[in-house]
């Protein structure tokens, strides 16, 4: 059944890509040629506002909106022009992501596309942006392949090759783990990429990695695979999927009497991870942003951002909100330096970005990525509430 759906999904995707390819040939002059020099500047945002990973999209939109309003309140860009945010919901679906981006570029004439959080969806939309020569800045997709799509695709967070190294080092050096098990969601590019990176780095450090165990995104029962893992007695388990499955995996692992630390990546950053309850204790994750980061620069900037976010949305911002907030400032800075909304000029300006953000120094390098430190946090579940507590920061290579 899933295989069939997957195949139809691929087919649909192929059709969308083929369609947008033909659309690209017809409309490209219109999209690239019309660059009004006055009036609001349309900026596209696409994200999973509904669906399985809705927490990602909602946080990202909130961070983006906050920053856009701040930029506009401070006088806008290019000598007083305001940013006009166009929001599209991709329903947590890969094929919807590419059609949402096609629509924003061809109909709304956005000058830049901001998004997505999920790597699979960024990977689906990136070729569209590249074809239309519209820069795309993904604030939070960590899969290495994304910025390799083309020279219009940028990223303002760390990559999975770094995240995997950091997680492996933390497990090996700090948790003293020597035998690790990895659970991989075969349906998510993020999980596949992160698994490969953790495996490689943990072995490089001298650790032993048990055969990787795979599951599908719709699976609900992980007891069978966890029992197999339990028998092999690992010292640490990496769950490289997203937060909804992670909550269930952690719970079922503890129910089976597995007490070793369970580690995850930034895909764990989502409200409903709380569903894991007490089982979440003794779990760790790598993250982009910590509200309790002791670094003095980040602390000062972070406090200002956290206060503004709390005042507006009534809750603490998570990493997806912080990263998205930063991505808007990258764009505003680049627009001012480019002096135009032209795609090529804007691309060159983004490539030369070097500003300080709330999630660290944002200096775009030659691979269109940034070198930012990674934060390790411990999950603490107490009195019916989940909290991420800062443990350490690991610098990029």
């Amino acid at each position: 059944m899933k295989a069939i759906i997957g195949r139809f999904g691929l087919l649909a995707l192929a059709c969308v890509v083929a369609l947008s390819a033909t659309a690209g040939c017809e409309r490209k002059p219109a999209a690239g040629g019309a660059n009004p020099t006055t009036g609001d500047i349309p900026v596209g945002f696409y994200g999973s506002l509904t669906g399985e990973s809705a927490s990602f999209g909602i946080s990202a939109r909130e961070g983006t909106e906050l920053a856009v309003d701040e930029v506009n309140a401070a006088g806008g860009v290019l000598g007083g022009r305001k940013l006009k945010l166009i929001v599209e919901d991709d329903q947590s679906k890969t094929d919807e992501a590419s059609s949402a981006v096609t629509k924003m570029i061809t109909q709304d004439k956005v000058v830049t596309v901001l998004g997505e959080v999920s790597s699979s969806r960024s990977l689906a939309a990136a070729p569209v942006c590249q074809r239309f020569s519209v820069p795309m800045i993904t604030p939070a997709s960590t899969n290495d392949k994304i910025t390799k799509v083309g020279d219009y695709i940028f990223r303002t967070c760390y990559t999975d090759s770094q995240q995997g190294r950091v997680l492996a080092e933390f497990a090996y050096n700090d948790l003293k783990a020597r035998r690790a098990a990895i659970l991989k969601d075969v349906g998510k590019d993020y999980s596949v990429g992160l698994t490969a990176s953790i495996e490689e780095n943990f072995k490089r450090l001298g650790g032993e990695v048990l055969p990787v165990v795979s599951y599908g995104s719709t699976d609900q029962d992980f007891r069978a695979i966890l029992t197999q893992i339990r028998e092999q007695k690992p010292d640490a388990i990496f769950a490289t999927g997203y937060y909804p499955e992670a909550a269930i995996i952690v719970r079922q692992a503890r129910e089976l009497g597995i007490t070793v630390p369970i580690l995850g990546g930034d895909g764990w950053v989502g409200d409903s991870l709380q569903g894991g309850r007490e089982a979440l204790n003794n779990c760790f994750l790598s993250n982009h942003f910590a509200t309790d980061d002791p670094d003095p620069t980040l602390k000062a900037l972070g406090q200002k951002f956290v206060a503004a976010y709390k005042a507006r949305f009534g809750k603490e911002p998570d990493a997806m909100a912080a990263l998205s907030y930063d991505s808007v400032y990258v764009l505003a800075d680049a627009l001012n330096r480019a002096g135009s909304t032209d795609g090529t000029k804007l691309r060159d300006a983004i490539a030369a970005t070097s500003i300080q953000g709330v999630t660290g120094k944002l200096a775009i390098n030659e691979t269109r990525n940034v070198d930012k430190p990674t934060v390790i946090q411990e999950v603490v579940y107490k009195d019916g509430a989940m909290k991420f507590v800062y443990k350490t920061t690991i610098k990029p290579n």
Partner: protein, 299 residues
């Protein structure tokens, strides 16, 4: 050995979930010869009804067994009402058309509930509150939670309860009579409309029980949760012999065990394929299922 026993327990816990849902499938089929594809979605509605009732009662902060029973009852009542409504407005108007019409209507109702559910509840997964404090019992290296035990016990109780209703009560006799021949049952003075509505109410209440029980053990609920689980329960019902109540139980347990054993090998991502492979195989080799008796179609 520990691992083998643990996987056996895992398989039975998972199988009990399928069995609970398969019971409803099989009972409706047994009486009406209708495969109610919306059954898996009523199961989803049961979980959501339980979710809202439990939250209204603030059960998460002070879990209690009494509270859990109230939530289950409330969810059963809600779903029984929904089941009757579905029968009245979707199935009854097409009852006298060909069986294919009913089947396609059932698929339509299923899609309506799934995507209507996404509009009403939102597509993001939610986490069911904790109604009973989770406890893990450990016997010689084998772990089982109180929730898994509860699911197994409830599914066995439900199976015997259904057997009793269908074979030992007056209304059960009327159900079987309606199943044999609707027109003759009517002539004998049986209110067949009521019997059919009752069958749907009972089946939907069973689905609601399954929804709440499963949400206790695997607390992630979303509007599409009934899709895959419902299909697998359908496979379980066919495997055991559709229309046969103990068959649903056996079919559910077998599917659960098979999936667990596949999950324990390096082919873990093929577990869904295996369940549906079994469906194809059983339809080729023994279409009546394990406990079903082949019936000769009279012309």
């Amino acid at each position: 050995m520990d691992t083998f026993l643990q996987q056996l327990i895992n398989g039975l816990s998972l199988g009990a979930i399928y069995a609970l849902i398969a019971l409803g499938y099989t009972m409706v089929y047994g009486v009406l010869r209708l495969i109610n594809f919306a059954h898996g979605d009523v199961y989803m509605l049961g979980a959501f009804a339980g979710f809202f009732i439990a939250n209204a009662m603030h059960l998460d902060a002070n879990p209690s067994i009494l509270g859990a029973i109230v939530v289950t009852m409330g969810s059963m009542a809600t779903c029984a009402a929904i089941g009757v409504l579905i029968e009245r407005f979707a199935y009854r108007p097409v009852r006298h058309n060909s069986r294919l019409t009913s089947l396609i209507t059932a698929i339509g109702v299923s899609l309506l509930l799934e995507y209507g559910g996404q509009v009403v509840f939102g597509a993001a997964p939610r986490f069911f509150p904790q109604m009973i404090r989770s406890e893990t019992y450990s016997v010689g290296g084998v772990q089982i939670t109180n929730q898994s035990l509860l699911i197994i016990v409830v599914s066995v109780v439900m199976m015997f309860g259904l057997e009793f209703i269908v074979h030992r009560t007056k209304i059960g006799t009327a159900m079987r009579a309606t199943s044999h021949n609707l027109a003759v049952a009517k002539l004998m003075g049986i209110n067949t409309d009521f019997i059919i509505a009752f069958t749907f109410a009972l089946g939907s209440a069973l689905a609601a029980t399954a929804g709440v029980m499963v949400a206790l053990s695997i607390p992630k609920i979303d509007p599409l949760m009934g899709l895959m689980t419902g299909l697998k329960a359908f496979v379980a019902a066919v495997l055991g012999g559709i229309g046969n109540i103990p068959g649903a139980m056996i079919g559910g347990m077998l599917i659960g065990l098979m999936e667990t054993w596949i999950g324990a090998t390096s082919y873990s991502t093929y577990r869904d394929a295996v369940a549906f492979g079994v469906l194809i195989l059983i339809l080729i080799v023994r279409p009546a299922g394990i406990l079903g008796t082949a019936s000769v179609e009279k012309v």
